[in-house]
Symmetry: D2
Subunit: 367 residues, 4 copies
């Protein structure tokens, strides 16, 4: 248990970084949605290793095969199974890990929890596991735009890498702007400094973290299920379930805690026949339910744990020792984290759209 | 759907702020745990309104009645139903709300989602709903210490109110220190300034937010269910499901994003026969699983939405209008948020303890 | 865990036969459904003890109180909590049971499973627990007829008591016919013999079982979620979750196993523009999905375990002994089982209606 | 939704009869269980087509590939994905089905529910879907005997085919007796008559149904989760979720409804230090919880719907027409249903063993 996400659009991911492959089963996808392997491949290519000079050189083409759930190019309403084979596994690079726990990795906790671990890589804790999420989310996005919100856009971007921040106008940032640079930031002026920083820490055998921000536009009003399945609660869970994440904030977030209510409240005004707020410190969610304004949240990613420096650690038979990182890794996960954040956002949204449709009926309820 | 939390220790809360009452059903509590209404009342008293000069004057004694699931002072293993009647409801104070949406409240989104709302107060979005959580968590804490971790301590405290911060040593802070002041901060030197600030904003008809930090000590190794039900993911969801929350971070959180891996990694060392880390930027969780170090996280609470100032808003028939806050409200939710944070932490922990026991067996597995 | 039923219209029942009361929380009820306590009371009165000369004389008025989830006579979309207090509990009648396990009751298995039991009656295994189900189903039936199938009728009736069978035409039987007699059979000619049999076994300190049959008319096509949540699978689970049940069959059931495919198959024909079957050995379900024909199933109830005869049993400290039944019990549960079967059928149907609406949209999909 | 089964040992099956393949993901399997593909293949071979002269000649070797969740021959505690490719699919045999609904198949209801279906065979309604269940259950059986009940035996057998019944002593029947004949009945004297009947109806282009009975020995006391997840309720659901099933009964079943309580009750006696019942009309379950006696239940299977005779039906554009069966099918599903019944029983048991361990702790609780 623990490898499934969603109540109605329910995904079950499986697979270790070094093994037969990774994949996902999507149970609950509505029927009659056009779907091909190409739809999925586009997003897998955005998260795959080796895509640019600042990502890990591990070379996986990550080709998705749809094994079930479609017929003549459309979904059947039955489970959609997707398989991606592992190709470029080099378990020999990990032999030292069979006997030592890598600091700030999941080696020790997996061993302690399960009494066993696949030490030929990160196993389930590897970011490779997110392939299943990204594949499932490619389907989710098709369901969202086809059935519920044709103009909905999920736009995550790199807001900072280390101490280098981007200046991004959430109202105007576009997917094209974000995807036009290999960092996936929304600020053209920050791109080069970010690339330089990643290359610098990498050449130093070091790593660096950062923040992904995400704006979601054209969200229907009414998504979210109080009291526990508030929209922001499910977004927080989805984001914190991604590897290397340490924080989540929505709207004004932590900085809002220093404001007074008079400064913080979002006044309502009618605008073109719609209820709007004149500011958006709520981040598009009030009382756990989307209010139609842009959803805006931020996710903290820690620096990659694998560094090419000798570190103190312990052996699997509990002796103090040292370990130097090996293997092929990202010195900075942020560029590849962008499609992962997008995936989890899409999975949360589609699930709440189906739940809302169950509760109050067809798409007319989302007006 | 949406009012249940937990997989194995599953709670279902119910009740509006103005109605017959509020309560909870706990399904999945192990049998043979000593339990009386007093056990529950202690925590309800910590979250009840009117408990001090800086909380809302709404006067509710919030007396808990256990309706089922115990026999001769011990749990039966069957559902435990707990009822707290609403007493001091003054729906007339809310009559204006029947026709206007309060800014930054859930009035508009509830109306949009459900097509109906109980306008005599916050309904389900009221903090009054958390009574059920706090009551259930009082049981959860008994299960934790009796069956799984006798010395486990969950210690949330107010870290900041507005811009006034507390200096707290997470290694030494005690429940006594926190509960000894009505703000529930861990820093005696900050108490008076915090009280003064709350009184000041209240007298000004304004409100203020803040941060609750939480340290959890003596946590068993191995809690958390990768990949989606990582311990921090469930903590994040639990915290963001609380009213007025806008952010969550664990360990180094957002500030860790500016560090390099070399600075951030937690080295392992053997200490008294146990695997320990020499720093704790992980916040007690690695790869989604507790590593035995202190769990440390922070939760952002926005300023209370109810302010005694005229604000722009719209009517329920979609006309621009103004509204001035009425009713009895906390100018700052932080002191009462402390037991709520504690409750959600306990509910997450007990659920993962039961899940871990299902997976690998008895408490010996938690050594 | 184990006291919740349903995926989207999710009920959580609680309460022991001798304790503060019994009740239910319904999470997932759509908003805007007219609902009063009277709606619930009607069905509770059909299942309550003491309602006729052939049911147990335990006298409980079983008055339902709605504690939450409604406002001005309509559902809010939030959890609906319903409470029924226990009144006529006479725990002293059970004192002997504290030391002996009653044969064919749940005393021994509850003690073995939980290590504790409320011996002042049947605890959770008592039919009293079904109050929560019947109350929740009263709401479910309103949702069904208001949102999904205005003419849907769930008509369970007593088909046999002991060896006395009823001859009932499932095409014409009406609720009036069934409710016009205290046995709740659909055959006027069988009523007196059934009453006589119940009185006879009761005067003999004995008990008797029987079969409840159920026809459901005007069922929308398309309900049921292959492959595990087939409609008949969920009906089977619902029925076998009722106390004293030992069997379930749908359509041709066990007798269909002796037919050949040529005899058994239901041919399709167009009729008034609808796809119909010319026979209904399928019982209204094909491939786990309703086909629009009448759903027909049968449920076996064993004879009541409490008999006024000395029986061999063992003590709670594991010595052979004897026990003679005491307390007030039904000599035959069948008349009161009718509303329980109806309740579980309604709960299964409403849940699948909501699930189907989530999957394919509004009620137009159910044409 | 609908393709997952189990709360803690949770399986998600996927795949259509004609498509890329079929398979399953098992989430929640405990770690450290020895597991190889051979363990799974043994059971797949028992359910595969073409295994004997009385099963369908469709020739599928049904080779299982474990894609994840094991390492060096043992389970990791992570999801186990199993893939079986479809090989001998002949969709051309089904071309007529693209335009006509086969009587008593799921063609019409799938089309009505989803608005689309894979007409190249039965799609998800095909018995081919059960491959995933049988594969998952092979793992479940290893978990059961390794962690919870070393001597537990699940022994389903064919009790009747059409009107030909077997005489089987449930106390002495062995797996060897059952597997020694291609019908999988427990009565050597009935084998030839059953084979003859199957061949006879097949040569006539007809089909026949039957009953599978199942005895489970050496069951721990305490399995089952009242009130809804009673052990018999989950068994009933599991069995009725199998294709072609129409009924389930446990213990005395329908025949027990004609007995009196005095005849039906199972007296308790101490025997070799254990609480035993002197009869077993309860079928091994009391109050929804196993009592340690043999579990005994029966499952009704209807005659195969595919017959080689012209039958009335309708076209997909709603015109009356006729259809004659084609394709390769079993004239009687019973021999191959035996491993399917065994699979569902194992899946129900392992799930309840894990749930019971969560509730009350280690295996000592199962004594």
């Amino acid at each position: 248990m623990g490898s499934a996400f969603g109540q109605l659009f329910r995904i079950s991911t499986w697979g270790e970084s070094h093994g037969g492959g990774v994949g996902v089963v999507v149970d609950g996808c509505p029927p009659l949605i056009p779907l091909t392997e190409e739809d999925i491949q586009i997003d897998l290519d955005r998260r795959r290793p080796g895509q640019s000079e600042i990502t890990t050189p591990r070379n996986e083409e990550d080709k998705a095969e749809i094994l079930s759930g479609t017929f003549e190019g459309r979904t059947l309403g039955s489970p959609i199974a997707i398989l991606v084979r592992n190709k470029d596994a080099r378990p020999e690079a990990y032999s030292e890990m069979s006997e030592k726990f890598r600091p700030s990795h999941a080696d020790y906790t997996y061993q302690a929890k399960y009494g066993i671990r696949n030490w030929q890589g990160g196993g389930r804790s590897s970011a490779r596991e997110t392939i299943g999420r990204v594949a499932a989310a490619a389907i989710a996005k098709k369901v969202i735009t086809r059935l519920f919100a044709p103009n909905l856009e999920i736009l995550p971007y790199v807001e900072s890498i280390g101490t280098i921040g981007a200046r991004v106008d959430t109202a105007t940032v576009t997917r094209e702007m974000i995807e036009s640079n290999i960092v996936r930031t929304g600020d053209p002026n920050a791109v080069q400094a970010m690339i330089d920083l990643i290359k610098e820490v990498r050449s130093d055998g070091n790593s660096v973290g950062g923040v992904v921000a995400c704006v979601i536009r054209n969200v229907p009003v009414g998504l979210g299920m109080p009291v526990f399945d508030r929209l922001e609660a499910d977004l927080a869970k989805g984001m914190l379930s991604l590897p290397a994440t340490k924080g989540f904030e929505i709207g004004s977030g932590f900085s809002g805690t220093t404001m007074t209510g008079r400064e913080h409240n979002d006044a309502f005004r009618m605008e073109e026949g719609r209820v709007r707020t004149t500011s958006n410190r709520s981040g598009g969610v009030q009382g756990g339910i989307s209010n139609g304004e842009d959803i805006f949240f931020r996710v903290a990613f820690k620096p990659t744990a694998t560094i090419m420096t000798s570190q103190d650690t312990v052996t699997t038979d509990f002796q103090d020792t040292e370990l130097k990182g090996r293997g092929r890794h990202d010195a900075c996960v942020l560029p590849r984290a962008v499609p992962m954040v997008e995936a989890m956002a899409a999975l949360v949204l589609v699930d709440h759209m189906l739940r809302q449709r169950a509760l109050v009926g067809g798409s007319e309820a989302f007006s």
